[in-house]
Symmetry: C2
Subunit: 210 residues, 2 copies
């Protein structure tokens, strides 16, 4: 039994996508952001004190963290799909890219994207973040050159985890000179599971303000 | 066969600790930071282009990301130790805390700690980061109240992953009013495996500048 607490314009779209790819039944509870602060509100905080998205209740386990939820759902409901099994060839790379999405890549990309909304990041920190974004997206671009998926030769939960960040980077114009990332993003967004997730959960990026 | 590329004052101390707890043999290659920039240098970039710590080569797999390396080592070398098995009671919580350490907690704590070195974070972003640090550390404090370990009732890889951040928070004075976190930190640092890791790899925090 899976209950997904979905916050509009958020990482919880990942979990809709995963569940649609697996064809697993779930209940979805919808939460809106505060129209001015854009932050999650009391209805999500009533479920989990950190009010993070995604928040999910899976077989009685209250969970947050996209990567953890993806791993847990794949272990309990995946029937061997969308993840290389422990001990198999692509397992190390799968775990690495799954963790890389939020452990390393997401923060600089999102902070750089939201910097104008914060009125800038300070004279020392702003160029540091920009340097990280360039270095990390160039690394992903190099990795995706001549690759169909982020890990091995098939679609996996690691694609879902990294795609949220790729999509933000795309929307923020960061992929203009990174054709492998941009093509990968478009391929992933053409998948039935992704399109169904957007249909059910709404767009991932509201508007970047033009 | 495990080769750990250890960078001084870094997250790679986690992997020494894990391997010492497991009693698994490994080779350690030592890397120093640039004395002025404090960043990793060409010798680590020669192993992996992102020059991140930890970087490890495990049975021929070049890996980064602490959480991924911890999971992979536990799957391949753990013999059931230091992680609840898939399908067991504490599995969801284990995955969540393992991912939480770097996915949510580490960035605001480290950015807040390094803010003076960057000359500040900007008038809008600095209070946002500070608010996140308070909210997240208060959440961990509440979780650790009357608990011995971060997950269930035994030591696991999730303790190792979150302890790096707890130790930085402790060194930065962020645990002064968070006794459960501070006591937990001291308990973890009293473990033989931790002490051996510091003996072999050096301290995690060089100096915070007083």
């Amino acid at each position: 039994m899976i209950t997904l607490h979905h916050l509009e314009y958020s990482r919880s779209t990942r979990i809709i996508w995963l569940l649609e790819e697996l064809g697993v039944e779930y209940e979805m509870v919808r939460h809106q952001r505060h129209p001015e602060t854009m932050r999650a509100q009391a209805d999500l905080a009533a479920i989990h004190p950190l009010a993070k998205a995604p928040t999910a209740i899976i077989d009685g386990n209250l969970m947050m963290e996209s990567g953890a939820i993806i791993e847990y759902i794949l272990e309990q409901y995946g029937e061997g799909k969308l993840a290389p099994a422990p001990g198999s060839n692509d397992r190390a790379e799968f775990l690495e890219w799954l963790h890389f999405a939020e452990g390393t890549l997401a923060n600089p990309v999102i902070v750089q994207m939201l910097a104008p909304r914060f009125g800038g990041l300070g004279e020392g920190y702003a160029p540091f973040v920009e340097g990280e974004v360039v270095k990390l997206l160039d690394y992903v671009e190099h990795h995706l050159d001549n690759r169909e998926y982020i890990v091995g030769d098939s679609f996996s939960g690691a694609d879902i985890n990294i795609m949220y960040v790729i999509e933000l980077a795309m929307a923020a114009g960061m992929l203009a000179n990174r054709p492998a990332c941009a093509d990968y993003g478009k391929r992933m967004m053409a998948r039935d599971g992704y399109r169904k997730a957007i249909e059910l959960g709404g767009p991932v990026v509201p508007s970047l303000g033009g």
